[in-house]
C-alpha cells in the first residue's frame, strides 16, 4: 500500500499513486454502507478530534460519521473564529488536545497554513478539512471519487469549475487532483475571482460561461459568498446571476451525459437554479455519501501508517 504519511495537508504534494490508494481504499467502505451493520473496527481505541474554527455542517458531520463507522471515539470542538485572535493560541489548543491523547486531529480553519502549523507542532496526525483559500483535500478526493465512479476514467475528462476560484480551496484541491490524473480542467468566472496565475497550473481560463461549458463532461459549481460583493469583486448578485448562474439553457451546451457537482452548501437561485440542482445529471447528494467513504479511507490509511510509525513527516 503506498500511503505512508503522518498527515493529510493537501493534494498538491501527493503523487498520483497515493491519491489512487485513497480512492481504491474508499470503495470497500462505500460498499459497507448498504449493509445492515455499517461499522468496521479499524479505529477502535483511537481518539479523533474535529477541531473546527469555521462553521461547517457537512464536512464536520461527514468526518464524525466516518470516524464512528471506523469505531473511533470522536470529540467535536467548534470554536468561534474570534477566539483565535483573543484567547488561547491555536498551537496551545491543539497541544492540549494532544495531551488528552488525540490520535488524529481534523482541522478546519479560516486561515491558510493552519494544518501545517499543527503538523509542525504536534505528533498527532493532522487532516486538513479546509484551510482558508488553500486546500480542502478530502473534498478534492471525494469529487475525484465521484467522477471516477460515474465516468470510470479521469484522463481526458473535460471538467469545468465555475465561480469564485480565487477564494476556493475546493477549486485548488480539485485542480491538483484532476491535473495529476490527466483531466482537462477549465475554470470560469469574472477576472476578479480568478487568480491571474491560475493558467500556470495547467488549466484553461474562461470569463464567458457559455463558451466554457461547451462539451464538458463535468461541471463543478462553487458557492458564491455574499461578502465578496462588499470587496468590489463583482457589482451585485443580480449581475453575477445574469453572467454565471448554471441554468438549464446553459447546460444544454455541455455533453448530454454531463455530471453536475456542487461542494455545498448551495445557494439555490444564485450560482445554480433549483431545476438544475435537482435534475438527473446532478450528483450532489452522492458526493455527500462518497465523502464519508473517502474520509474513512483517509482516516484508515493515516491510522495504519501510524501503526508502523515509519511514516513520512510532512515538513
Amino acid at each position: 500500500m503506498s500511503f505512508n504519511r503522518k498527515d493529510l495537508l493537501g493534494l498538491e504534494h501527493l503523487d498520483k499513486t497515493e491519491i489512487q490508494t485513497i480512492i481504491d481504499s474508499a470503495r470497500p467502505f462505500k460498499n459497507m454502507f448498504t449493509r445492515s451493520i455499517k461499522k468496521a473496527p479499524a479505529l477502535v481505541g483511537k481518539t479523533v478530534v474535529n477541531l473546527f474554527y469555521e462553521p461547517s455542517t457537512r464536512t464536520r458531520t461527514s468526518f464524525e460519521v466516518a470516524s464512528k463507522r471506523l469505531s473511533a471515539d470522536v470529540v467535536n470542538i467548534a470554536t468561534a473564529t474570534s477566539s483565535v485572535v483573543k484567547g488561547e493560541s491555536l498551537v496551545d489548543t491543539a497541544k492540549t488536545l494532544e495531551a488528552m491523547k488525540a490520535d488524529i486531529i481534523i482541522i478546519r480553519h479560516t486561515l491558510a497554513g493552519t494544518p501545517e502549523l499543527l503538523a509542525k507542532n504536534l505528533n498527532a496526525s493532522i487532516i486538513n478539512a479546509g484551510d482558508g483559500f488553500h486546500e480542502h483535500p478530502t473534498q478534492g478526493l471525494l469529487d475525484l471519487y465521484t467522477m471516477y465512479e460515474k465516468k470510470k476514467k479521469i484522463e481526458g475528462l473535460k471538467v469545468l469549475l465555475v465561480g469564485d476560484i480565487l477564494h476556493s480551496r475546493v477549486a485548488k484541491s480539485n485542480i491538483w487532483a484532476l491535473t495529476k490524473f490527466g483531466a482537462k480542467v477549465r475554470v470560469a468566472g469574472p477576472p476578479t475571482l480568478i487568480p491571474g496565475k491560475i493558467s500556470e497550473l495547467g488549466v484553461e481560463v474562461f470569463y464567458n460561461l457559455d463558451e466554457a461549458i461547451k462539451d464538458v463532461d463535468v461541471i463543478n459549481i462553487l458557492r458564491i459568498q455574499m461578502e465578496r460583493q462588499q470587496e468590489n469583486l463583482f457589482p451585485s448578485i443580480h449581475e453575477y446571476v445574469e453572467l454565471y448562474q448554471l441554468t438549464k439553457e446553459r447546460l444544454a451546451k455541455a455533453k448530454p451525459d454531463v455530471l453536475i457537482m456542487h461542494p455545498g452548501p448551495m445557494n439555490r437561485g444564485i450560482e445554480i437554479t433549483s431545476e438544475v440542482a435537482d435534475c438527473s445529471s446532478a450528483v450532489i447528494n452522492e458526493q455527500v455519501t462518497n465523502g464519508i467513504a473517502v474520509r474513512m479511507a483517509v482516516l484508515y490509511l493515516l491510522a495504519a501508517a501510524r501503526k508502523g510509525e515509519n511514516y513520512v513527516h510532512s515538513n
Partner: protein, 428 residues
C-alpha cells in the same frame, strides 16, 4: 586608550583604499600616527578592516516592546554583526515623535548600548499621517532622519510638506513605500505562490505606486527622499530613472531581498514573512542589478525582532519582520561579493560611506584620520553555521538559521573601544 591594528587588509571605500597597512586609534578617533606606543596591538594578519558598518534601518523596540528587543540586547546583536551604528525606527511605544522619546533612546544607548544608536523621528505626530511632527525639535534632540516606517504617509499633500519642510534641516525623509489599500490583508507576495498557498497577496505595484508618487513629490519639492527596503524590479527601475533625472533620491535594500524568493513561504514558516514581502527571482535579479549599477545606495537590515510566541502561529496573524543584524555582513559577502555582483569595496561602501553621506554622518563611514574610531574587522575565510543558540538578539526570528556562511566580523570597535570579538563575545 590607543590601539594599533597591524598589517591588516584595509578596505575603505571612502578613500578608495584597498591595501595592507596599519590603523591607529587614539582617544576614540582614527589618527595618522600615535602620540605614544599603543596600549593594545592587534595582529591584522589574514584579516580585513572596514569602516564600522552603518545600518540605516532597524527596529530596536525600546521603549515599549522590550519583550522583543532592548537597546542592550539589540546593540549586542549589532556588535556581533560587525555593525557599529544603527538607526532605529520610530515605531516604538510611544512613537518617537517628541524630544523626550529621542532623549530616552540616546540615554539608554549611552548607558547600556554597545554600538552607536541614532534615532529616526516620526514624519507626522503619532505616525498618524495627519500633521507634521515637530521635526525641528526632534532634530535638536538628535534624530538623523524622519520616517513613518510601517505607517506610510498616505496623504500626498502631507508627504509633500514633509519633503519641503525637512529641507531646512537637510534631513532625509525615509519612505516605507506601500499603498495600504492595494496591499490590504496581504501577507506575502502576490503571484503564483500566493495562489497556491491560499494566502492573500501584496502586489509589487503596492510598493511601486508609492515609489512613483514619492519620486514625483521629490521632484516637486526638491526634498531629500530615501526609499526604504526596495523589493521589486519596478521600484529599482523607478529609482534608476529618477537618479538619471538628477533627483535627490536614494534607496536601500535588505539582504533577504537579494537572497530569498517567495518560494520559501511554502511551509508557512513565519520567519519568511516580512513587509515588503519576499518577491520572485526576477525581482531578486533586478535588486542585484540595482546594487551593481549604483541605483541602490545602501544595504540595511530592517532588523525586526518578534518573540517566538508571536511568530509560532498562523501565517496570517503572525507579525511581519525578521532579525538581521547578525547576518548582514555574511549575506552581503556570500550573495554579492562571492557571486561577483559587487567588489568587496563596492559592497562595503553600501554599509559605510554611502549611508554616512546620505544621512550627513560627517565623522563616520570612513577610516580617514579624524573619523570616529568605528572599525569592523572581518575574517573573510571564516566558515560557520548560523545557529539559533548563538544569536545575541533577544528574538530569534531569522530565516537564515542553519545556513552556512563564509566570512563574518571577528572584532567590532566602536569609538575606539573593542566591544565584541568572535573569540570572547561581548566585551564589558
Amino acid at each position: 586608550m590607543s590601539i594599533q591594528i597591524k598589517n591588516i587588509n584595509i578596505v575603505d571605500p571612502s578613500t578608495n583604499t584597498n591595501k595592507i597597512g596599519d590603523i591607529f586609534i587614539e582617544d576614540g578617533k582614527i589618527v595618522e600616527k600615535l602620540s605614544k606606543p599603543a596600549d593594545e596591538i592587534i595582529d591584522g594578519k589574514d584579516k580585513t578592516a572596514f569602516p564600522g558598518l552603518i545600518d540605516v534601518h532597524s527596529h530596536v523596540r525600546e521603549p515599549g516592546q522590550e519583550e522583543k528587543e532592548t537597546i542592550k540586547t539589540g546593540t549586542r546583536s549589532a556588535a556581533k554583526g560587525g555593525i557599529t551604528t544603527v538607526f532605529c525606527m520610530p515605531n516604538t511605544k510611544p512613537v518617537t515623535d517628541n524630544a523626550p522619546s529621542v532623549e530616552y533612546i540616546l540615554m539608554k544607548a549611552q548607558k547600556e548600548g554597545k554600538v552607536n544608536v541614532f534615532p529616526i523621528g516620526c514624519i507626522t505626530k503619532g505616525s498618524q499621517g495627519k500633521e507634521l511632527a515637530e521635526i525641528g525639535i526632534l532634530k535638536k534632540a538628535g534624530i538623523v532622519a524622519v520616517s513613518d516606517d510601517g505607517q506610510p504617509v498616505a496623504n500626498s499633500q502631507i508627504m509633500r510638506r514633509a519633503l519641503e519642510y525637512t529641507k531646512m534641516f537637510n534631513l532625509a525623509v525615509i519612505s516605507h513605500c506601500e499603498d495600504k489599500e492595494l496591499a490590504r490583508n496581504g501577507v506575502m507576495n502576490a503571484g503564483k505562490n500566493s495562489m497556491i498557498f491560499g494566502l492573500r497577496g501584496i502586489p509589487n505595484q503596492s510598493e511601486e505606486i508609492m515609489v512613483s508618487r514619492d519620486i514625483m513629490l521629490c521632484e516637486l519639492t526638491g526634498g531629500k527622499l530615501h526609499i526604504a527596503h526596495v523589493s521589486t524590479a519596478g521600484s529599482v527601475e523607478l529609482v534608476r530613472q529618477a537618479k538619471k533625472k538628477g533627483l535627490n533620491v536614494t534607496c536601500e535594500t535588505c539582504p533577504h531581498y537579494f537572497t530569498l524568493t517567495d518560494d520559501y513561504v511554502q511551509n508557512y514558516d513565519t520567519n519568511f514573512k516580512m513587509n515588503p514581502p519576499l518577491r520572485t527571482q526576477k525581482d531578486v535579479d533586478a535588486i542585484k542589478e540595482g546594487l551593481k549599477d549604483g541605483t541602490i545606495d545602501c544595504i540595511a537590515t530592517d532588523h525586526a525582532p518578534h518573540t517566538l510566541e508571536e511568530k509560532n502561529r498562523e501565517f496570517d496573524t503572525a507579525p511581519f519582520g525578521i532579525i538581521g543584524f547578525e547576518t548582514l555582513l555574511s549575506l552581503t559577502l556570500n550573495e554579492l561579493v562571492d557571486k561577483n555582483i559587487l567588489t568587496l569595496s563596492e559592497a562595503i561602501a553600501k554599509m559605510t560611506v554611502n549611508p554616512a553621506k546620505i544621512f550627513s554622518l560627517d565623522t563616520r563611514g570612513s577610516l580617514k584620520a579624524g573619523s570616529a574610531a568605528d572599525v569592523t574587522i572581518a575574517d573573510l575565510n571564516h566558515e560557520y553555521e548560523f545557529k539559533k543558540e548563538d544569536i545575541l538578539s533577544k528574538s530569534k526570528n531569522s530565516p537564515f538559521i542553519g545556513r552556512k556562511f563564509k566570512g563574518c566580523a571577528v572584532m567590532t570597535i566602536v569609538g575606539g573601544k573593542i566591544v565584541w570579538t568572535l573569540k570572547d563575545g561581548i566585551i564589558n
